[in-house]
Symmetry: C3
Subunit: 153 residues, 3 copies
């Protein structure tokens, strides 16, 4: 059992099966020692866990949970490319898009669902740069979409 798998298990989590892309692309691509993931939606077993805008139909707290689901999907995509998450040497960048009610301004607290899980799993190797954006609408009316750039050896 790999170190990161153990860390996941301690949190009561497991990597999901890699989410099938919605269209003509792949979940992640390796170039050099970087993995670029596709934007990951909060899909569970191929179904969107929840739809709607954060700050309206979806609470900030629920948005944070959904961001965590996005990260699990992103890490599953990374693991499928590089074999094991134990090869990760740095989570370089997280970009979090939050489908936001116009009055909702706490995008960072939603994307923290991604950042905090990464911190728990990867420790110092997980300290990443990050951008959080509020967008009008995401594919399938998803509340959150997360993409990663990951360095590995």
């Amino acid at each position: 059992m790999s170190k990161i798998d153990r860390a996941l298990a301690e949190l009561g989590l497991t990597l999901p099966a890699v989410t099938k892309p919605l269209a003509a692309y792949v979940p992640a691509v390796v170039t050099g020692n970087l993995v670029f993931t596709s934007g990951q939606l909060p899909m569970i077993d191929g179904v969107l866990a929840e739809a709607g805008k954060v700050g309206a139909e979806v609470s900030a707290e629920r948005g944070k949970e959904l961001a965590q689901i996005c990260v699990l999907n992103a890490l599953a995509a990374v693991a499928a490319e590089i074999g094991s998450l134990d090869r990760v040497t740095r989570i370089v960048k997280v970009v979090g898009f939050v489908a936001s009610d116009p009055g909702f301004l706490a995008q960072p607290s939603v994307v923290n669902g991604a950042s905090e899980l990464i911190g728990k799993l990867f420790g110092d190797l997980g300290t990443h740069a990050r951008s959080s954006l509020g967008v009008a609408v995401l594919p399938l009316d998803a509340p959150v979409e997360i993409e990663l750039i990951v360095e590995f050896a």
Copy 2:
């Protein structure tokens, strides 16, 4: 005639002249063996092919055609930097921004206009990671904006 030029010709397409940036930047930059393009609008001969939001003034089908125009502009920018698209070893990442009517949720089908053309031109080297986002408004009221990260040798 290069391989990719032939593939373009078979689709009845040609690379356009590189679109002049709207401001103080350049169409693409090389770092190491990667090319990062600027966000490309659906410009034809320096004029925006169409304005408006997808799902309102612009249909999803038309949005898909516009995404293809964006990709041609992006590939023209890449070719201008590296000399020939035959040097491309991987299309690493496509990010597609769709200026969306609030009720429009099919951003992935629009950005497929980009992905499918890349697949036809580059085959396996064209299988890319991708993020599709719905945004409120794009420069010049463009319906679509596409950026690429491309690996070359």
Copy 3:
């Protein structure tokens, strides 16, 4: 005094202290010879310089000034990682997110606040690829958010 520090001084500018992230991440990460910054808001001494949407509460001209503040924060984050901005060999990519009134279409002119400052500071090494997007809302209701990818030696 470094070359870039001199260029800043000639413009009457200084690098700010690195802006504390809003959440569980860091201002910039180095991978290989690239620095990826977090999305930077127009913070001055830890306080958002101005809130609101460009084209509504915030003018395009003011948005441009705020984009310049974002870049100073981003460069401060880069300098903190690599020691001196004189090590920069290329500003590779600028992504500018403009929180936009639905009728505001001049995102590129706002993001020019970033591009023009970079040009003044870095000359040819500052000619970058760029994407400008209009988004519904940014963290803390910030009008602008800027992220950079920077190459260094």
